[in-house]
């Protein structure tokens, strides 16, 4: 018995260096994350132009756009988290005029509060001139965990892939150092906070630019309240009703407002 104790004490001393390291892993339970959404406008517009192959006017407009506009359109947002709840708020964006200014995939339509304990959400969603307040249970995403990692905003993140709405491929990078299963927009359900998110086939990415640890801020965490009450099913029905006569163009809008 004494020997064991002695050995233990010795090994403790020997590995004291690493032991100190082991206890130093710091986990963040509440704070604010700043995200940057980046949309590849060139790719999105090219898809539109390719749909109308014979329209040389559209193609001319696209060439002119490429010469004068940046390839990526950047939009900011913040995510406040604490007490196992998150509140995602997009920053106000200036309206864009011009030929291709009105693309549905670009604008940030959701101001969403998620309760990760009960996996429910309250989403103040802007659809054209209307605002809906959607309350329902969070989307159940089947994530596939990989062992690819990358560093985002100083945190090591692990990659997970998923498919939502049967057709949208999602790549997410989550960090175990933030034990909150939240993320930007409506993406949740991973063992850690999602700091990077990409929809590769929609040409959109979100990456965290800054993570600040702080005590939960009640004002920032307050759920949104404005809008016509809806649930996910009635929202889909409303969107379908508006866009059923819009053909292909409507499908893009439908997708953008459903994410």
């Amino acid at each position: 018995m004494k020997k064991i104790i002695a050995l233990t004490i010795i090994s403790v001393f020997l590995s004291s260096g690493s032991l100190v390291k082991a206890q130093n892993a710091h986990f963040v339970n509440s704070g604010v994350i700043e995200y940057e959404k980046s949309v590849n406008m060139f790719a999105l517009i090219k898809k539109e132009v390719d749909q109308y192959k014979d329209d040389s006017f559209l193609e001319q407009a696209y060439e002119s756009y490429k010469k004068t506009q940046p390839q990526f359109r950047k939009l900011k947002s913040t995510l406040s988290f604490g007490d196992n709840k998150t509140h995602f708020v997009p920053a106000e964006e200036e309206s864009r005029d011009g030929f291709f200014g009105d693309n549905a995939m670009v604008s940030q339509n959701n101001n969403i509060f998620t309760d990760l304990e009960t996996t429910t959400f309250i989403d103040q969603k802007k659809v054209f001139e209307e605002t809906f307040l959607v309350k329902d249970t969070s989307r159940k995403i089947t994530w596939k965990i990989t062992d690819e990692t990358r560093d985002i905003a100083g945190y090591t993140c692990r990659r997970a892939n998923a498919l939502i709405m049967d057709s949208i491929y999602v790549v997410a990078f989550y960090t175990e150092r933030i034990p909150v299963s939240g993320g930007p927009e409506t993406f949740t359900g991973l063992p850690g906070m999602i700091l990077g998110l990409a929809l590769p086939h929609e040409n959109i990415t979100w990456f965290a630019t800054k993570v600040t640890e702080s005590a939960p801020d009640n004002k920032a965490m307050a759920a949104p309240t404005k809008g016509k009450p809806m649930d996910t099913k009635s929202l889909q029905a409303t969107l379908n009703k508006i866009m059923k006569d819009w053909g292909n163009w409507g499908k893009t809008y439908l997708k953008a407002f459903s994410i």
Binding site: N40, V127, P191, I242
Partner: protein
């Protein structure tokens, strides 16, 4: 005591039974190997063994333990991770025999310590590397003799350990791959099926095989990860498409066209030929665009603003928008053209060239009824005119654009055209006053003209470093030479009160003319951003216009010999005009509001010399053009704009000192050298809102303009018998009256759910009050028009569509000199149409428009017109490449052109021949080299 034990047994039983409903669970603890320290907050995830999908997850508690309940039967992977530690991975299964698994205390290993052991002990097979190698060979990882574990860690970013101590490491960090500037995240084949990958096929192959299609440039993005940038080569477009169409119809109507377009890489060549006599004289908008004849191009500004610039040309009888002929008479058109455009030098330089040739012949008859309001009563005239116009034209133009550097562009356009025309007019007219004949006559003119035009246009633009600071310089030179040669033959008889001929006037003259002009305009503009929201554009423009105009009339000295020059009808003018303009416009742009205001002012020196009389005419004048514009955007689809602009209008040369012209012997124009300019003020407002969700559109717009010191017509109608009905017109300024006109329109449109249709209505009002002098008395003419309309429409893609609209209108037309004559009238208009897709690729459609204009005192006949067209088409082949169309134009044969308007002292109604009923059958064939590839 016994009771407590019993109770606890019961509770235990209950606990067991409740967990029996879902007994599948796992539990365990996570500790650090060496220190046995509890790893609080370590991440514990349960994944499906088959596809690594996440089932449940939890965190290790402060006590160092974890539990994952509510699992299900199956094979799983347990993944436990903690920062700086190797991932712990263990496979396990749950089934009815083994419903819960206890991992006991999982020993987690620090990554650095793990590698230190390996390096020191030199164990070879200890680590399995994912990817290429299966054995850990320190040499393969370039470890220096004194390398530290940290170095090794950098090269092995991901490390996993399982319960048997087997270590698996990831050999290399996944590099960041950019494709065309965008990061490429490899597709997971189990999630992304073939369908979704269709458009990304190239990219996926690229990532896996690093194909030679692309060029690689390694970029160090400063973030310690090497980034591979892949630039996909632009699609090499090669192919052609075109359209051939031929149609024949009743009454000799026909049409035919052939369009061909070939593209190779960045060059495009197209040719077209069109012939027909049914009103289609040019390419439709769609076709014009496809075949390189587009009449507009779009440019993007810095802020994403869009501007459309219209390519020279315009409507000169051969290019008409929409390919429809809106003029009077029956046209026969033959046009053709060739187009070529290409880009080179990394798209920095481009060339666009066109050649067009064509002829247009229009024949028709026009009838005009007019009422001349004089204080002594109204004189009504009825004129019938047969006309024949022929025009033949050739034009060659080229545009060269070059991007000199990243901030400056140069565009040069050159064009030249030759036009020959031949026109013939034969008209007979008669006038009466209160039913008593006043005069009648015939008038025949023939004219041949040949015009040559040359244009040169250069535009240079430059953007400076400071955002918003730009400079542009343009120079335009236009040279024009026209020759005309024709004859005027007319006879007019004037009657006295008894109806006897009091006087006869005959003219038989040869008319020749030559006009040459050279016009240079240059403009330099500079934009400077003063603050974040305020910017100013200043410009200076210089213009120089030089022209020579030589018009002569000759009488006959002997039959057929026209050599007696009529000096009073001949002139020889030389003109020099110099203008200087400066302007400044301020622009303020806020989040929702935009406001700009400013003015341009120009000084013009006009110097004209009459070479025949030696009399000069010099004039200096100043023109102002103030403007102000305000726009407020409530939201993306709701905005309001208000604008004002003012303009000085100089009297025209023909109003000041007209060239004597007797081509209409019943009207003589006299000049007025004392004319001063007038100034017009225009106000407009525009409000529009469109609600997408409720499908509702609403708009209100209107305008008001008035003119200060207007130039009005001073008409003297001669009433003595020998020249009764002849008019002498002169232009004068009217100081104390302000003529004005206004317009107002509002519309509302909404999708009605209940009937699944769009319903809307609109109201419009417009009118004017104008002044003129007739036989020295002031005449005030009021014209107002009110109309309203409701409409219904429905559209179902690829199924059917229809629309109906109808509404009344009312016109007030009143002249103060003839208060007893009222030309107020009501009218009604209705339009409708439908298009239905039938089975077997048939389509049927029809449109009807009905117009009714009630008679008035002066125009004593009701005008009714119902235009009904119908068509039936059938298409063949997968892409609808072959199309047969049968159509009937104006089924009821009621088409007649007419218009009514008010001008000065005259109120008149025009009617003219137009294309009426015919049946036509056309075959259209679209061919496309891309069709075989299945692309659409």
């Amino acid at each position: 005591m016994k009771f407590t034990i019993l109770l606890s047994v019961f509770c235990l039983l209950f606990a067991i039974s409740s967990s029996a409903q879902n007994p599948y669970s796992v539990k365990g603890a996570a500790v650090d190997t060496t220190a046995n320290a509890k790893l609080f907050n370590a991440s514990v995830s349960v994944l499906n063994s088959k596809d690594s999908t996440l089932v449940k997850f939890t965190r290790v508690s402060k006590a160092g333990t974890f539990a994952v309940p509510n699992l299900h039967k199956g094979s799983f992977i347990l993944l436990v991770t903690y920062p700086e530690y190797a991932d712990y991975v263990e496979r396990f299964s749950l089934d009815s025999a083994h419903t819960s698994h206890d991992f006991k205390a999982i020993k987690m290993l620090l990554k650095s310590k793990l590698l230190a052991d390996v390096v020191i002990k030199g164990t070879r097979a200890a680590i399995k590397i994912k990817g290429d190698t299966t054995e850990f060979d320190p040499r393969a990882f370039k470890i220096q003799p004194n390398a530290t574990v940290e170095d090794l860690l950098k090269q092995l970013p991901g490390i996993q350990v399982d319960k048997d101590g087997k270590i698996t490491a990831q050999g290399q960090t996944v590099p960041k791959v950019l494709v065309d500037g965008e990061e490429f995240f490899g597709d997971d084949p189990t999630l992304v099926t073939k369908n979704l990958r269709a458009d990304m096929v190239d990219k996926v192959q690229l990532y896996d095989k690093k194909s030679d299609q692309a060029t690689f440039t390694g970029i160090d993005d400063g973030q310690k990860t090497k980034t591979i940038n892949v630039q996909l080569k632009a699609d090499k477009k090669n192919g052609y498409f075109g359209k051939a169409e031929a149609g024949g119809g009743s009454d000799g109507y026909y049409q035919g066209s052939l369009l061909y377009n070939r593209f190779k890489g960045k060059s495009k060549f197209s040719a077209y030929a069109i012939t027909g006599n049914n009103g289609k004289t040019g390419l439709s908008w769609e076709d014009a665009d496809k075949y390189g004849q587009g009449f507009a191009s779009v440019e993007f500004g810095d802020e994403g603003s869009v501007s459309f610039s219209f390519n020279g040309g315009g409507d000169d009888g051969l290019d008409s928008f929409g390919g429809q002929y809106y003029g009077q008479g029956i046209p026969v058109a033959r046009t053709g053209g060739v187009h070529f455009d290409t880009k080179w030098n990394k798209d920095k330089e481009s060339l666009n060239a066109n050649y067009k040739i064509g002829s247009l012949t229009v024949d028709g008859t026009e009838n005009t009824l007019s009422q001349n309001n004089t204080p002594q009563g109204a004189i009504n005239s009825n004129t019938t005119r047969d006309f024949h116009n022929y025009m033949f034209r050739q034009k060659l133009d080229g545009t060269y654009t070059v991007k000199l550097d990243t901030t400056s562009n140069l565009k040069i356009m050159v064009d030249g055209s030759i036009k020959n025309s031949n026109t013939r007019n034969n008209s007979t007219s008669e006038s009466d006053q209160d039913g008593v004949a006043v005069n009648n006559g015939t008038n025949n003119t023939i004219n041949d003209a040949s015009t040559k035009v040359f244009d040169f246009n250069a535009l240079y633009t430059k953007k400076f470093k400071k955002k918003g600071r730009t400079f542009s310089l343009s120079a335009i030179e236009n040279v024009n030479n026209a020759d005309a040669h024709g004859f005027l033959r007319s006879t007019n008889q004037f009657f006295d009160a008894d109806g006897k001929v009091a006087n006869t006037e005959t003219i038989d003259q040869l008319k020749t003319g030559n006009t040459t002009s050279s016009k240079l305009t240059t403009n330099a503009a500079y934009t400077e951003p003063l603050t974040k929201v305020l910017s100013v554009i200043v410009n200076y423009a210089f213009g120089y216009n030089h022209g020579v105009s030589n018009q002569r009339s000759f009488n006959q000295s002997a039959p057929g010999v026209y050599n007696l020059q009529v000096d009073s009808l001949s002139s020889d003018y030389r003109l020099n005009e110099i203008s200087n303009q400066v302007g400044a416009i301020f622009n303020m742009k806020g989040k929702k509001a935009t406001f700009n205001f400013g003015t341009k002012v120009s000084n013009v020196n006009f110097d004209q010399m009459n070479e025949m009389t030696g009399v000069p005419f010099k004039r200096d004048f100043v023109n102002w053009a103030p403007q102000a514009y305000f726009q407020y955007r409530f939201s993306q689809r709701q905005f309001l704009s208000i604008n004002y602009n003012g303009r000085t209008t100089q009297p025209s040369i023909s109003q000041i000192q007209p060239v004597a012209n007797n081509s209409n012997p019943l009207n003589v124009i006299v000049g007025n050298p004392d004319l001063r300019p007038s100034f017009a003020n225009n106000f407009n407002f525009y409000y529009n809102s469109y609600k997408v969700v409720s499908g509702q559109a609403l708009g209100v717009n209107g305008g008001y303009s008035f003119t200060n010191n207007p130039i009005i017509s001073n008409l003297t109608t001669l009433l003595t018998d020998s020249v009764k009905g002849k008019t002498i017109s002169q232009y004068i300024n009217l100081r104390n009256k302000t003529p004005f006109n206004y317009n107002f329109r509002t519309y509302f449109d909404k999708k009605i759910e209940a009937i699944d249709m769009n319903v809307g209505f609109n109201l419009s009002l417009n009118g004017s009050t104008s002044y003129s002098i007739s036989n020295e008395e002031l005449n005030k003419t009021i014209y107002d028009n009110y109309s309203g309309q409701i409409n219904f429409s429905k559209y179902k893609e690829k199924k059917y569509q229809f629309y109906v609209s109808a509404g009344p209108n009312y016109t007030i037309s009143h002249s103060s000199l003839t208060p007893n004559i009222s030309n107020n009238g009501r009218g009604f208009r209705s339009d409708g149409g439908f298009n239905v897709y039938l089975p077997a690729k048939f389509q049927i459609g029809s449109d009807v428009s009905y117009e009714f204009t009630a008679k008035t005192q002066t125009f004593d006949q009701d005008l009714k017109k119902t235009l009904w067209n119908a068509n039936l088409t059938k298409t063949f082949f997968k892409n609808d490449d072959l199309k047969l169309t049968l159509w009937v134009n104006d089924i009821l044969n009621q088409n007649v052109g007419f218009s009514r308007n008010v001008s000065g002292n005259f109120i008149q109604q025009d009617s003219y021949t137009t294309i009426k009923r015919y049946v036509m059958f056309t075959v259209t064939w679209n061919f496309n080299s891309m069709a075989s590839l299945g692309k659409k």
